[in-house]
Subunit: 623 residues, 2 copies
């Protein structure tokens, strides 16, 4: 019995509360200010981070000098007046002092340019407020290093944009794709979808409209959204045209147009090169990116290089004027496990690294898009290779799906990959809905996609040891231990679903639930054992068992869709306590007033279970 | 552009087809016959596998001798007649020759005992058939090493049991929990649930009944199930009694009873010791295992050691008589992230290792149960510590959940953990349904739980490089590339859901889908680019676009529950083509007969999208 086990504590610390028994995160120690920021320990064979950052890719007419301690006793200046001075000296949050010398008359526009000059913008301050574990100076420094972006078009900032950051030093973000189709959807519907996606946790939105009045829709979404909005401008460039007709004037005009409208980031598939196309020939499923396939067709037709690549510097200059962030597209992402991590994908990734360097030289913020479909064993490598080749620029990945044979469930197959991707280095996760590969997502698919991805992002933040990321989980565990159902629901990410599922079996808030029942509730039994009773947290205790409040319309709808209870039974749950607890029709009472004793509760449970059980096949599982 | 990237290929090879572009699995090389079998590369700090196996824990009256090459030119015998000989010499599939000497008159009963004597049983042969990558001799050798079990009660083998194996050398398995509740469910309902769980991929079932006629239910399930059936016998031991009254005669009688009935594995919480209980006091949520909490209460009441622990050898002797496999319970598994990998959990795991050794000494097959709720970063360590402490005995884990704040979605939070657990060493995954923590799972919850776990198990097998595990994925990718929808659905794990989701938007089998539509289909565009067109696989091609067949009742139900289409629209989909394709009401046509040209298909799509779009908020997302 004298076993020793060494815990692989790398020093990340405990991301939750202090009064817990878990030893804390096994991730690497928090090293914000370095390429490791929050990171997973490397499995053998993983590429080391790049030894370069955005500081190594300044515009050619800039100079920067690292000052020694003696030289650096110059006052750090925070005045934005740059026209009147040629150099700025400031010390970053890691204690490195730089003298930065932009050309005379230079005026910063982008967050990256401000950061390079040591300026902490209002947006950086807001980001630090939203990321409790970061200071404004750390946000600035991560942006200067190219490891973080704040997608905030200067025009969108005039509307409702609440600035947020994407980068591995901040919490993991999720993106939801929206957009009108060629023949349906009006603008108000799109705005409803924006609200719905944000309600379920979307941190950014992409308007991928391919139909309707694209301009009007885009403009309305940007004006309405408090999150950054991204687009794939090539869609608008070819509406009503053939891809073969695409040329620089069309590209230029559309980029200007969308940037002016306030779009915060652009997906541009500049990394698909002519010389990569032969690698695609051997694939099982060729090119699955719309932008990638369109540009491939253009290149083959014209026998010329990708115009997005050849015009890259001009594109950068347009984006810089509005501080539009790049989301450099992965046109050659794999469309099946069979094509993952292959030559086509990796060759493009090398090009994405080159495009990152070139964009940074023009002062533009950059994130990189990633796959797609990747077996679980290859995910860490994909993340860490991107970190190397793109010098730490934030990685924005689509899933990846870890198996191909579950269409209808790809929000799950992909959120498994997404969780691992975020743990190993991805900064933003583009959701996949249950309708992926099959059709257009409906409203409920958007919800399911958002929630699956919120799970992925949150689980990765906990795993990475981001301070405070587990506190709500710990609070919910305390409520669970105290069998305090109301608080349990309140702390749930989707309280309507949690309460509807609970009330389906047992509309009494007892000190057990219908999963195990009174006699078999381990938590209740634990509470009986005074020597180490659970639910000892005073704040989480509640009084005696209480009757559950009436179901809200949302909860009724959830139960109706499950198809377990009859409309009649749902109606009863929606009305039963309205008078007793002061709930009006359709409203939820904010508190309970009538207590139920444990015996009544137990009896009640048995009645309910009998009623529901008849012909409805309850109780399939008890764990 | 002269970048080099070293792929971390550890030699696992490609688990799918050979004509693909992915470099293959990054997992460790297949080393069946060693503690690594199929395994993930170790992150630094992971405990090495134990240098012991079940060969090191033979019964005291057995002797074993490893023979040198010269000594070993003795014929390997496969005769089961052991009473007539005192020693057996055989060479295992790794070329090691052993002389095994059981006591005179010894007759093997368990698969472990047979394996130790070099005997390949019918069950091992069947397992090798089901695990295409293993030979019967390898199955035998893994069992002899204690790294694999075949839960096959000799009495269940007289009914319909189709032998299967659990171990890291075989494919990952999933378990579904069923069982009658105190007040509902009859036996026929339970048997329906058995069929339902098996349909959606359950490899084993646990009957966790706590109500109804427990004996009759259990017996009926065992007789009906082709999968192994497990139970937690303590439930039956205390029905109608107080836990304090539990004593050895009760334990003994119930174990004999259930073993006689043909139960294939028993969860017994013998690892919760009196001395572990103080560690529980500091936890946020104490003990969440029902068996664990009951035995803790017993120990505190009597101030005595866990009776399952003190009577362990006697328990082993009962199990051996019927070849019931142990699933040694983790009574102190964490009930929240806050309690993961803590002293209570690890102290119990050490005891589980001791119990494993003691069970192997009595000839009983062993698997070990594991957590529960574990942050992603701690999963690999948990798996590899178990591998060390329990000398490679198969690990059977519940999830684990990687976050606590998503009740209603714990099939997802836990299947993320389960995928990682299987990749890092777990052999069987116990499902968690969406109702976990909230109430009793309904039939659809069982389905959702099974599918989420099938995803986890399958994704892990692919990641581990188990030969052939990705072939169906590759086939589906080919069908997808060829835009062959019928084959796409056939290869889907849940074809009804896949086709219902597809037909919801577009009841025409076109060369695109409603997600992107005709003009925006990257796969279609890829096919236009002759130079590297997708869908080049001849077998996957189909003719022109065809009308989709009528919806089956299952597909109608799926659409009805989604609540997107009106009953009228669903009815239309269910009937529209019945005459044209020869589908009777409710039956699905086996093939199509009326072709639709691409223009009609496109027009049709637009019509459908318009119709569905009105007021129904389609098209939320396009990726």
């Amino acid at each position: 019995m004298n076993h020793l086990y060494q815990l692989p504590l790398n020093g990340a610390g405990n991301p939750g509360q202090s009064n817990v028994t878990t030893p804390g995160s096994f991730a690497n120690k928090n090293r914000v200010g370095t390429p490791w920021t929050f990171s997973s320990p490397d499995t053998p064979g993983m590429p080391a981070p790049s030894d370069k950052t955005a500081w190594d890719f300044l515009p050619d007419d800039w100079e920067v000098e690292i000052l020694s301690d003696e030289d650096s006793h110059v006052e750090s200046s925070s005045s934005p007046c740059l026209a009147c001075q040629n150099s700025r000296v400031f010390t970053d949050s890691n204690g490195i002092t730089r003298r930065v010398m932009p050309p005379v008359g230079f005026k910063p526009i982008t967050q990256l340019e401000h950061a390079r000059l040591g300026i902490i913008t209002d947006q950086m301050i807001r980001v630090a407020e939203r990321e409790g574990h970061l200071t404004p100076a750390q946000v600035r420094d991560e942006i200067a290093a190219g490891r973080m972006v704040i997608p905030a078009n200067i025009n969108h900032l005039q509307w409702k944009l609440d600035p947020m950051a994407i980068g591995r030093a901040s919490k993991t973000k999720i993106n939801a794709n929206l957009g009108a189709s060629p023949v349906s959807s009006d603008i108000n519907e799109e705005l409803e979808k924006v609200d719905w996606a944000v309600k379920f946790g979307a941190d950014t939105l992409m308007d991928l409209s391919t139909g309707g009045d694209l301009n009007a829709t885009r403009s309305a979404i940007v004006k309405h959204a408090s999150t950054p909005v991204g687009t794939v401008p090539i869609y608008s460039m070819i509406i009503g045209k053939k891809i073969e007709d695409l040329d620089w004037p069309i590209i230029e005009a559309e980029l200007h147009n969308q940037a002016r409208q306030g779009v915060d980031y652009f997906t541009i598939h500049a990394g698909v090169l002519k010389e990569h196309l032969p690698f695609v020939r051997k694939r099982l499923i060729g090119i699955v990116s719309r932008g990638g396939s369109l540009l491939a067709k253009w290149m083959i037709h014209h026998n010329k290089q990708n115009p997005m690549y050849t015009h890259w510097e001009k594109i950068c200059d347009i984006l810089r004027q509005y501080d539009v962030t790049f989301s450099i597209g992965d046109g050659l992402r794999p469309g099946g496990l069979a094509d993952a991590t292959d030559q086509a994908q990796l060759a493009e990734l090398v090009t994405l690294g080159e495009l990152t360097e070139r964009a940074w030289k023009r002062g533009v913020q950059v994130m990189i898009e990633g796959p797609g479909h990747v077996p679980l064993d290859q995910i860490e490598y994909n993340m860490k290779l991107q970190r190397t080749l793109c010098h730490g620029a934030p990685f924005y990945v689509l899933g990846p799906l870890v198996t191909d044979i579950f269409p209808g469930y790809d929000h799950i197959t992909s959120c498994i990959g997404a969780t691992n991707a975020a743990y190993h280095g991805a900064s933003m996760l583009c959701y996949v809905t249950p309708k992926e590969h099959l059709g257009l997502p409906k409203k409920d698919d958007v919800k399911q996609g958002c929630i699956a991805y919120k799970i992925a992002a949150h689980a990765a933040d906990i795993a990475l040891g981001i301070p405070g990321s587990r506190e709500r989980d710990d609070e919910l565990t305390k409520a669970r231990a105290a069998l305090n159902w109301e608080r349990h629901f309140e702390l749930s990410f989707d309280p309507d679903t949690a309460r509807a599922y609970h009330d389906e079996d047992l509309d009494v808030d007892t000190d057990f639930c219908a999963m195990c029942g009174h006699d078999w509730c381990s938590v209740r039994i634990s509470k009986e054992i005074l020597e180490f009773f659970s639910g000892k947290d005073e704040d989480s205790q509640r009084g005696k068992p209480v009757k559950s409040a009436a179901l809200t319309p949302e909860q009724q709808e959830i139960l109706a869709k499950r198809g377990v209870l009859s409309p009649d039974e749902i109606h009863k749950l929606a009305n039963k306590t309205k008078k007793a607890v002061g709930a009006d029709d359709g409203d939820k009472a904010s508190c309970h007033s009538d207590y139920v004793d444990p015996d009544t509760a137990k009896k009640k449970q048995e009645e309910k279970l009998v009623t529901i059980g008849v012909g409805l096949k309850t109780n399939e599982s008890v764990i």
